[in-house]
Symmetry: C2
DNA sequence: TTGACTAGAACGAACGTTCGATCTAGAGTT
DNA sequence: AACTCTAGATCGAACGTTCGTTCTAGTCAA
């Protein structure tokens, strides 16, 4: 309450910490970021960080879980709004491209950091729920005859592999044009790879 | 001279250090591996390590350069032995799969570690020479009419993206069968994505 | 007064690196 | 053959720094 420096709403401090941490982790990596860095960047004391999170790894884990959950819920929306594998998978790639352009840190943390080095007990991203939902879309497409019958893993990697590598290329600064301008070309190639 | 316990040939110690380092870096990551770990694992003293390499980063850099050079020379051989984009690109995927199965540490260090976190001045892998040669194969294929005319980056990521993600899936333990058993399925899909 | 929260100084462990000592192999000299 | 010299390789204890974490003191709202 009171005046100039307004009081924090609950959850505010956590959000500040997580936001600063995301930017530091993607900018310089988990191991090049110290807890002292996080405290400085988020304008919060070390004590607060350790009050809200068990340890440094706990901050990373919270970040990771937030990300997985958000992605899962976005994919659930896609599943609800589209019925064919064609439309669903296109929507997935579109979503990934939009996130890459609008919130590059999130995409970088999701696709481009080696979680297993700092979250030793976490399964690899590719076996996380969002990736499983994406494979489910592909499986449905094979069942309905939209997608050629083949190994599910082969179909999934061929269908999404190009787009995902395009995203990492974009994050590496290898693309001349904005990522989203490539989406139709990518989609035509990727869909042709697996369509019946 | 020399008999039972043979004396070291020059370069032997460096090779010992590099081999132990590769296995440690891929097993637990650069930042989870201390120079003391490297000394213990390679059965060489810390002093020797610093005699042969400028610092810890220098060891990583030597490893990285070895890898890039070896890959470049393998790709040059492929270029010499095959004439069509079709044959060259298939040979590239075959090569990548073989390395993944026979020397997984090398592939893991090449494709799966975040070099930029510990080699800050290195360009991303995807702009390294081997990847450029791969794109050159694709460009040649577009010029000769084997591959549809489109953005080079789009064609390259679509042609190799599936295989590369299959490799990372394999390293994540997501595949039921050995990686090489998928090669023909992958190739059919990937080639169909870009072929005229 | 209580309990949730914040602050930042302090701590011990682990890290990357340095350094002087020691060892080895070979060249040069007699 | 015997000895000396030298260059480079090897060694590991020791150093200073940085890190993640803990701790005590304090603030503020209810």
């Amino acid at each position: 309450m009171s005046h100039v420096t307004s009081k924090k709403t609950p959850g505010d401090t956590q959000a500040q910490i997580l936001s600063a941490t995301l930017s530091l982790f993607t900018g310089q990596g988990y191991f090049n970021t110290s807890v002292h860095d996080i405290a400085r960047e988020s304008e919060v004391s070390i004590g607060s960080i350790y009050h809200h999170f068990k340890d440094k790894e706990g901050v990373a884990r919270a970040l990771y879980n937030d990300m997985i959950n958000r992605m899962s819920s976005e994919l659930a929306t896609i599943k609800k709004n589209h019925n064919t594998a064609h439309d669903r998978c296109y929507a997935v790639i579109e979503l990934l491209f939009i996130i890459t352009e609008q919130e590059p840190d999130i995409m970088e943390f999701m696709l481009y950091s080696k979680h297993r080095e700092f979250l030793p007990n976490e399964r690899p991203v590719c076996s996380s729920q969002p990736f499983e939902i994406m494979r489910e879309f592909v499986q449905d497409g094979m069942n309905s005859g939209e997608i050629q019958d083949m190994d599910l893993m082969v179909a999934s990697t061929c269908l999404f592999g190009g787009a995902i590598r395009m995203i990492t290329s974009s994050m590496d600064g290898l693309l001349k044009k904005p990522l989203s301008s490539y989406i139709d070309d990518i989609w035509i190639c990727s869909w042709r790879a697996v369509a019946t």
